[in-house]
Subunit: 285 residues, 2 copies
Amino acid sequence: MEKHSFISSIDGLLASSDSLTDRGLAYGHGLFETMRLHLGQLPLSSWHLQRLMRDAAVLGIPVHLSTVEQCINDFQQHLRQQNIDHGVIKLIVTAGTGGRGYKNPATIKARIICVYSELPQFDQQGIHLWHCDYRLPSNPVLSGIKHLNRLDQVMARNEWTDDFYADGLMFDQNNHLVETTSANIFLHSPDQGWITPDLQSAGVSGVMRAVLLDELFPRLDIAVSTVDINAEHLADCDHIFTCNSVRGITPVLGFIQSHNLVTLTIGSEIKMLQSSLADNYPCFK
Amino acid sequence: MEKHSFISSIDGLLASSDSLTDRGLAYGHGLFETMRLHLGQLPLSSWHLQRLMRDAAVLGIPVHLSTVEQCINDFQQHLRQQNIDHGVIKLIVTAGTGGRGYKNPATIKARIICVYSELPQFDQQGIHLWHCDYRLPSNPVLSGIKHLNRLDQVMARNEWTDDFYADGLMFDQNNHLVETTSANIFLHSPDQGWITPDLQSAGVSGVMRAVLLDELFPRLDIAVSTVDINAEHLADCDHIFTCNSVRGITPVLGFIQSHNLVTLTIGSEIKMLQSSLADNYPCFK
C-alpha cells in the first residue's frame, strides 16, 4: 500500500488536487490524441484509439480500451447536452498519481482527461512554412509516440512569431526532414514521386499520415514511400503538403530554405488526395 | 485577447480545473526543483532558484524570482502551522494555460506549484546501481535543464524492479555515461582522479553536483574534472558516488557492467566530501 500524504499549493493558494501529483504533469508520463468532433461524431476515433493503446503499452500504462471509450462517450454525451457537435476533443491518458520518483507505482491507475475546444482557425487553401533551427533529438524508443514530452515542438514553434508562417519544418540532428511542429509532411518531386519522412528515430506517427499511407494513396493508386529526406530532396520537390487529424491535408505554398522563400504549386494529386479524404471523412470537406 | 472556452472531464467526471489545460501537463512546458526541507528551512534554496530562473529563460517562461520566493514562503508558513519542518518541497513552475497549440500565448502567466512530501527512505551507507539499456537522446539545447519532459528517466527507471538496485546508470547513444535516473555521478580512478560526466548534450545539471564542483571539491583541494566518460573509465574506477539535492552524497557499493556486479569500496575522499557537505548543510548529516 503506497502512501500519498501530499500537501500542495498552486499560485500560492492551498490546493488538494490529485492532478498536481499526476505523473503526466510531473514527467510527461502519458499520451494524447487530438480528435476532430464533427456532427457529434469522432470520425477518426478508431485510428486514434488504436495508436493510443499501442503506445500506452510502450510507456507501461495499462488501460482498457473500453474504459477510454466509456470516458469519451460520456464526454460526448455531455457536449451533446450543451448542443456542441463540432470542434476538437483532446484526449489525455496519463500514468496517474503515485510511484516513488520515476519508478512506477506497483499498480498504475491511468487517468483519462477529455478537453473540448472549438475548432481552431486554419487555412485550408495553403500555408507557408518556417524553417526551424531547433533539431529533434534521435530517440528510437519513443519515436512515433504522441507522448506528453513535447518541449521539442514548443521550442521549435516559438522560433517565429510572423503569422505568415502557419507551421515550421523540423529537422533531426543529421539535417533530415522529420515533420512540422504540428503535422506530418509529404513531398513530391518529379524524380522520386511522393515521399514522406521515415520516423524511425524522431517524429510523431500521425493518424492522418496513417490514413494517407494505408487508405488514400493506395485507393488512388498513387505511389508513396517512406525515406530519409535531406536538403536535396527538399530542393528538388515541386509539391508539398502537411497533414494532421484536425486540419486534414494542407497544401504548402512556400517554405523557407537558406533564408529564402521557395514557392510551390499545389498540383492535381494533392487535390485528388484532399477530395478522397473528404469523401471518406466529410469533416475534411 | 485569447479565448479560453474549454470543457473538460477527468476520469469521466466533468471538471473545470485550469490545470487540465496547463502547458505543463500538455507539453511538459515547465521546470521543477526538489528541495530538502530541514528544520523549517530550505538550505539549498538559493542554488535551486538560481538554476530555475536561468532555465526558465531558456524555455521562454517569464517569472520573477520574488514571485516564486513569495509562493514558497507562503507554503513554508502553511507547513509550519501544521508543525511540518522536515521533508521535501517539490517546486513546479509551468508556462501556465493558453497559447494556440505549441505556440506560446502572447503573455505567458507562469503557474507555480508547491508539493510537500515526506523525506523518502534511502540508504546513505551505499547503494548498488543497475545498468540501464535505455539511451539518453542528444539534445544540446535542453541538456542540463530540469524540465518536465522526463520520459527518459521514467523509461530507464522502470527497466528493473529488484530493490537491491537503488538507481541505474544511464548512458547516451554514444555509450558515454551521463548520470543515474535520479542523480548525478562522480567516479574516481587511480589514473584520472575524480571525474564527472560532461553534460553538454544530455543529463540534468544537478544542484548537488554544482555544490560539489563549486564548493566542496575546491574547499578540500581535491581535483575534479568534467569529461566524456566511456566504458573504460568505468572499468578503471575504484570509487563512485551519486549525488542529488535530496539524498546528498551516496557512495556506490557496486554496479552492473556486462551483466556482472562490479563491487567498489567507499574510500576516504568520499567520506571527506560527505563530511564537508554535512558541515555546510547539516541536513545531510
